[in-house]
């Protein structure tokens, strides 16, 4: 078995264990918090009898272990139950709301990598000079303010005072939305061949994605800078210089790749953290993602929907981490080969 496959298998099995743990935890917590889900769902005018009926239907009077066993057997069939809030299967709800959130997080991730790493390199190359100082102050600002604050500030600056970007939403009301195929709006626009809709949707996603990615950009820039500077002090850089390799090539080939390794780990974690922050940014920009749904189901103590939402977010987090691990294995031979030599 190749070391990378081994790594993948190991990470996947750990992820499954983590998911089982998360499901137990959130299953128990959702039931421990006070309030009767049946009562909340039926409203204050329902009779006690009606409430009892619903409780019975939801198996709420069974022991928590029996309830969990039911949940697992349903889940094995791909059924997360019915949401009391929308009266639809939780799976359907999630399939509707999750893509918008993922799209937002994905674009924010691209911003984080696309701006953060080059800024860090620039900063390291011009260490101590004006460019470095400006980048350092900006990235510190990015890291120190939470993304919903940036969401509000950016909205005020670039949608309200200087109306460069649309103020909210995912696409203009005046456009016909392309047929929903993947659920990812940008992608669906392209599939439909509707470039005007694509441009409009891209225009809409810039501000929320940027707000969401700012702390990540700052983090990535700071880390990349620190790692680059550390790498420049390594003997193999001096050796490369002693062979007269051009500085550009040393930066690109000899310094960048080793210093990318620690940055990538943090970028992966940040990427996953953005899933949580996305809830607040979505609220600011009226983004039709999972956040509104998530908040509503928690307030309504919609047990199935809470468990389903949390599980989907955890799974996304784990998948992103596996991808990052594989990327690191790809650029860091020590990981690729360490798996083999371990006893």
């Amino acid at each position: 078995m190749s070391p990378v496959v081994q790594l993948l298998a190991k990470r996947l099995s750990i992820s499954v264990i983590v998911l089982i743990g998360v499901s137990m935890l959130i299953f128990a917590i959702a039931r421990i918090i006070p309030g009767d889900p049946a009562r909340i769902a039926l409203g204050p005018n329902a009779t006690t009898e009606q409430v009892m009926q619903l409780r019975d239907k939801l198996h709420l009077d069974e022991s928590i272990i029996v309830q969990y066993a039911n949940f697992v057997s349903d889940f094995a069939r791909g059924d997360l139950g019915i949401s009391l809030y929308t009266n639809r299967p939780v799976m359907t709800d999630i399939a509707q709301f999750l893509p918008a959130t993922l799209e937002l997080v994905f674009v924010a991730g691209l911003f984080m990598i696309g701006f953060g790493i080059p800024l860090g390199i620039l900063s390291a190359r011009h260490r101590g000079k004006a460019a470095d100082n400006v980048i350092r102050v900006l990235s510190l600002l990015g890291v120190s303010a939470p993304s919903f604050v940036w969401a509000v500030i950016l909205m005020l600056l670039f949608a309200f005072f200087l109306p460069i970007f649309p103020i909210a939403g995912q696409i203009s009301d005046t456009l016909t939305v392309p047929p929903r195929i993947s659920g990812f709006l940008l992608f669906d626009c392209l599939l439909a061949g509707d470039l005007r809709a694509f441009a409009d949707a891209a225009h809409h996603i810039v501000l929320p994605a940027f707000a969401l990615s700012l702390s990540g950009i700052g983090q990535a820039a700071r880390l990349t800078r620190a790692n680059m500077i550390e790498t420049y002090d390594k003997p193999y850089i001096e050796m490369a210089r002693s062979y007269g390799f051009p500085e550009q090539r040393i930066a690109r080939r000899y310094a960048f790749r080793p210093s990318l390794i620690p940055s990538l780990t943090i970028i992966g974690l940040d990427f996953a953290a953005m899933l949580g922050n996305a809830f607040l940014v979505e609220a600011v920009y009226a983004w039709p993602g999972l956040s509104r749904y998530g908040v509503q189901v928690i307030l309504r103590k919609d047990l199935n929907a809470i468990v389903g939402t949390v599980l989907v977010i955890s799974a996304t987090f784990l998948i992103v981490n596996i991808i990052v691990d594989l990327l690191i294995a790809f650029i860091n031979p020590r990981i690729r080969y360490a798996e083999r030599s371990r006893p």
């Binding site: 001096e238 002693s242 007269g244 031979p333």
Partner: protein
């Protein structure tokens, strides 16, 4: 020694600090003839390594460094060359071997990629296959068994001694006129260091490469060098042919340096044939009393 490959004349180096200029080298003069192996000996901080880096033109890139004096390499005045021209000399006509071979090789590229990069300094159109072939023959020169396997490996997968051989092969790959060895193999254990040094000496003698050998290890220097310069606090305090200098050190620092070397009579670990009795029964020489 009419036409030296390298000569330093009154080389001075200072660093600009907040407290003014701090002078590190106070006027170093030395010359290395063609094919000559010259050692520069001194304790840490005496200015050995900075001298090497000035010759390579690496220190000149530092803004805080102030360098004066004349450096002639193969007839050309190095200080008159542009940055680009100095860079063009590195890795082609002069090259360097470093203290710690394992951390001097890049951790994220396999050896053959680094070899190719070095060989491309001479021939920009070198193909992957040609590079591979050259590298294999160069690694064979430094007695590496299975050079193909070593070329595919990463530095962290090889032993220190193996990496040291790789580094020697790389440094000599483009047949430079001058090889600078800065405390080569100090990070290795003593036997491995001795082995690789022997190898390096044989190679440079065969190829006629001039060597500037930097070390604090007098034993190694004595075996390796034709002539020795002793550097102390940024000044050359004594120099001469190795035998003469070791036979009759004159400067008090040189005497102190030699007095500091622990003496080993005999030299080296004796070779024990694998079929000897001592090999088969480790107790044979020791009369161990067996308790009743």
């Amino acid at each position: 020694m009419s036409d030296p490959i390298l000569s330093l004349l009154d080389l001075k180096l200072g660093f600009k600090t907040y407290e003014g200029l701090v002078e590190v080298l106070h006027g170093i003069s030395l010359r290395i003839g063609r094919g000559e192996k010259v050692a520069l000996v001194g304790e840490s901080g005496s200015g050995k390594s900075v001298t090497a880096r000035i010759i390579l033109g690496l220190l000149q890139e530092l803004k805080s460094a102030r360098i004066s004096g004349a450096i002639h390499f193969d007839g050309a005045d190095l200080e008159k060359l542009s940055r680009r021209e100095r860079q063009a000399l590195r890795g082609t006509r002069m090259s360097m071997i470093f203290q710690d071979p394992t951390s001097s090789l890049n951790p994220v590229f396999p050896i053959h990629v680094q070899f190719h990069e070095v060989l491309r300094r001479m021939d920009r159109n070198l193909t992957q296959r040609q590079g591979m072939q050259r590298a294999i023959s160069l690694l064979t020169d430094v007695s590496i068994p299975e050079p193909e396997r070593v070329l595919q490996a990463y530095a962290f997968q090889l032993s220190g001694g193996m990496n040291q051989r790789v580094m020697i092969a790389m440094a000599l790959a483009n047949e430079p006129s001058l090889l600078i060895a800065d405390e080569p193999g100090t990070a290795l254990d003593v036997t491995v260091q001795a082995q690789t040094l022997h190898l390096m000496r044989d190679l440079v003698v065969r190829k006629g490469t001039s060597v500037l050998f930097i070390s604090h290890n007098l034993g190694v220097v004595r075996e390796f060098a034709d002539r020795v310069y002793v550097i102390y606090k940024g000044r050359i305090v004594e120099h001469g042919p190795t035998d003469a200098l070791f036979g009759q050190p004159r400067h008090p620092y040189t005497k102190a340096l030699m007095a500091a070397v622990p003496r080993i009579t005999g030299g080296g670990i004796p070779d024990i044939p694998e079929n000897s009795e001592a090999f088969l029964d480790p107790m044979i020489d020791h009369e161990v009393e067996v308790p009743a």
